[in-house]
């Protein structure tokens, strides 16, 4: 039994490098066939012919594609993701700067989305057809159908411009800029580690709006899925039996029905989290949040292929890791998979 479980786990882990290799391969070749000359990103449109030619050779673009890919793969294996044209930094350095910003945002968003989404989903399912169910449905519909940039702009207009309850775009206020030593890249954590509580609260205040917008967007999906899963469970025979045995409503809902919905919900939440970690480009743009999504988009639009490939690999790694984690949790929570 244990051997079989370990075997399944080993197979899953072994698939990771193959997945990443495939991702690198596809991204690399897509990057080479897009109708943008990568040399333009390096030397610009005005550079004389000799400068253009030199850049082409320096980038290795004069070599056949398979040689370029082989070199790139060799560099990745030695931990060298290359240098970004747009930022002049090594891509790894950029990722360690941009990813924590996205991680901080996505983690808060998914926590809020999961807690509220599950709560609302369960509430709607247990009151199916009532006004509560209708209200939750409308709320979720708004979250899921309103474009995220509209939500972001409305949020800025209401909570920042009109009410003045929350600060505007950016990760921190001007007076705290460059004041907190970067240790983890997570501003809230760095400020707390430094014991700089005003900077900590400032960072938290700046997080609320973008995280709130992303949470609203995500919770709509989580709530709808929770409701659907819960309804299926509440119609099950074991629930009828539990009712017949006189168990309390809350016990039936939370101890019996919800425990079974939690299993598929893990996948929903983890995939939503992976999507957020990939970077919410529009939210990051409107809230001037220097995250991975914005980095990836700007790099892509400027044909900064080292940055695109590096960031894509990181995103791929996140997806694979979260999938693996969801898989493990699934096995732990669902006795049928043991």
């Amino acid at each position: 039994m244990l051997k079989a479980r370990l075997g399944a786990l080993a197979a899953t882990v072994a698939s990771i490098p193959i997945t990443l290799l495939g991702l690198a391969l596809v991204t690399f070749f897509i990057g080479r066939v897009v109708p943008i000359d990568p040399v333009l990103a390096v030397v610009g449109d005005r550079a004389p012919a000799d400068v253009v030619e030199r850049a082409r050779i320096e980038l290795g673009l004069d070599q056949p594609l398979y040689v370029q890919f082989g070199r790139y793969l060799g560099d990745i294996l030695t931990g060298n993701l290359g240098r970004s044209v747009m930022t002049s930094n090594s891509v790894w350095e950029d990722i360690t700067r941009f990813f924590p910003a996205t991680f901080e945002l996505a983690t808060l968003a998914i926590l809020v989305a999961a807690i509220l989404g599950i709560g609302l989903g369960v509430l709607a399912a247990t009151r199916q057809g009532s006004w509560v169910d209708q209200a939750v449905r409308v709320f979720c519909l708004a979250g899921h159908s309103l474009p995220v940039f509209v939500l972001a702009l409305i949020s800025l207009l209401v909570f920042y411009a009109w009410l003045g309850w929350l600060p505007g775009p950016g990760r921190q206020g001007i007076i705290y800029q460059d004041m907190v030593e970067t240790r983890t890249g997570l501003l809230t954590l760095d400020a707390a580690l430094a014991g700089d509580w005003p900077a900590f609260w400032d960072a938290v205040a700046h997080l609320i709006q973008p995280a709130g917008v992303l949470a609203f967007f995500s919770l709509a999906y989580i709530a709808r899925m929770t409701r659907a899963f819960m309804l299926a469970e509440l119609r099950s025979e074991y629930v009828t039996t539990a009712r017949a045995k006189g168990l309390s409503r809350s016990r039936i809902v939370w101890r019996h029905a919800f425990r079974n919905t939690a299993v598929p919900l893990v996948t929903v939440i983890f995939l939503t989290y992976a999507g957020l970690l990939e970077g919410a480009v529009l939210t990051e743009t409107i809230f001037a949040w220097p995250g991975l999504g914005q980095y990836l988009t700007v790099s892509l639009l400027n044909a900064d292929m080292n940055a695109v490939l590096g960031a894509t690999l990181v995103v791929g790694l996140i997806y694979v890791a979260l999938n693996l984690l969801a898989d493990l949790l699934y096995r732990l929570m669902d006795p049928r998979t043991r």
Partner: protein
Amino acid sequence: MTTRRTLMVASGAAFLSWDAVIRTAHAQTPPGIIVMAKQIDDMITLDPAESFEYTGGELCGNVYQKLTTTPNDNPSRLTGDLAESWTASEDAKTFTFRLKAGQKFASGKEVTAEDVVYSLQRVVALNKSPAFIINQFGFTKDNMAQTIRATDPRTVVLTTAEPTATSFLLYCLSAAVGSILEKAVVSARAQNDDWGNGWMKQNSAGSGPYRIVSWRASEAVTLEANPNAANPAATRRIIIRHVADPSAQLLGLQRGDYDIARNLASDQIKGVSGDNRYTVVSQRKASLLYVAMNQKNPILAKPQVRQAIKMAIDYEGIQRNIVPSNYAVHQSFLPEGLPGALTEKPFKLDVAAAKRLLAEAGHPDGFECSFDFFSGAPVGDIAQAVQANLAAIGIRPRMLPGEMRAVITKTRARQHDLALLRWGSDYFDPHSNAEAFSINPDNGDDARNKTLAWRSGWDIPELTARTIAAVRETDTEKRIDMYEALQRDHQQNSPFAVMLQEVEVAVTRNAVRGLQIGVLSDRTNYAAIAKA
């Protein structure tokens, strides 16, 4: 025990604490600090020998001094920046510059001829994208020791390969690539033979009014006043925040979080322009929007067709309805503000005349062709208006929106029919645009010099010779006359319908004064910015 009273007190305290946090975050920007909201994700380096983007050029312009410059109140007039005076030899090949005394770098060390020589030789040796502005005078890595030299601590001598118009050399030296760096600081950071380029990408070593404190790509740049600057800054610190979204810039300006917003859209500018809480600062930039017609397409190669397209475009209507604040109608290849710019506008919407010309060319029912353009605002909207204009005379453009670099890649490969493009001048001399628009020494597909004329397949040996003669003309007035004549011919015969000139508009809070926007990015001056 928790009572209702303690709960109320705790809630009240939490509210007051939060209010304090928000008030700190929302307070007007601190005294002595100017906060500017700007799109800065175009910037890839701060090294003036390499920087060729708008934001990078603007920052270099505020961090470094050059030998010469042009004042914003009279951009055509050349004045000394670090140079006190200059003389040209009779053969117009040797130029001697005498440096001003007392010009200091941020480190406190005086600017010497040795620093000037090092900076210019560094540009030549590195040979990065903007180096051609300096290298076009014949400086090479092999001859730079002889052609760029110091004869004493305050005298620099430059020797050009060919007789050169003094104004041409001085305008080129006034470009950002001509910035003077502190040799001791930069050379100490050099690795291998990079001339300190790795370090200079993110740092500064200049004598301008500001120095770079930090640059975090796509996030913020912080500048601090250079205490030793000859032209001292009025504000201690400037923080430029990357705010990509114009709406977020406007909200921040209205809330008092930003003192200056640099990228508002036309409708937003219109909304604040009558409000006495804000000041609108605008300046025509050396940046043009034009339609290029590829002469490899035999239909577009017909002079009547080119003329018809120029007469079919509703220049005034497009400017008025789509970009009333951010563009002005302009129809010659030298933008207003550059020496020799022609402000005549010979073309206006005339559908009947345009149709007549098409019929003369043998296309009374029009024709179909591709139309590439950058899909972002406002260029995408302008492209749609041009499409509608052309449709009115029977031309049916197939709209091909794309990313800017994709469109440029396509035009560099001469694979377009029509393309709506933007062109910004590289340096202040008329030759910058003249070279791009009216020089094409080799129209072959494998030509090395891919000027805009080449990209449109425009074979112009006669115009090329006239343009080269203009750049070599040493008499400044005669030179300007030559450029004006070139532009008139170009307007009538070229495969370019120059439509609009960009107008940069910044909106500041009314307490903020002194922002000067330059015709070129590196002329945008922060030194006088201050708030009451």
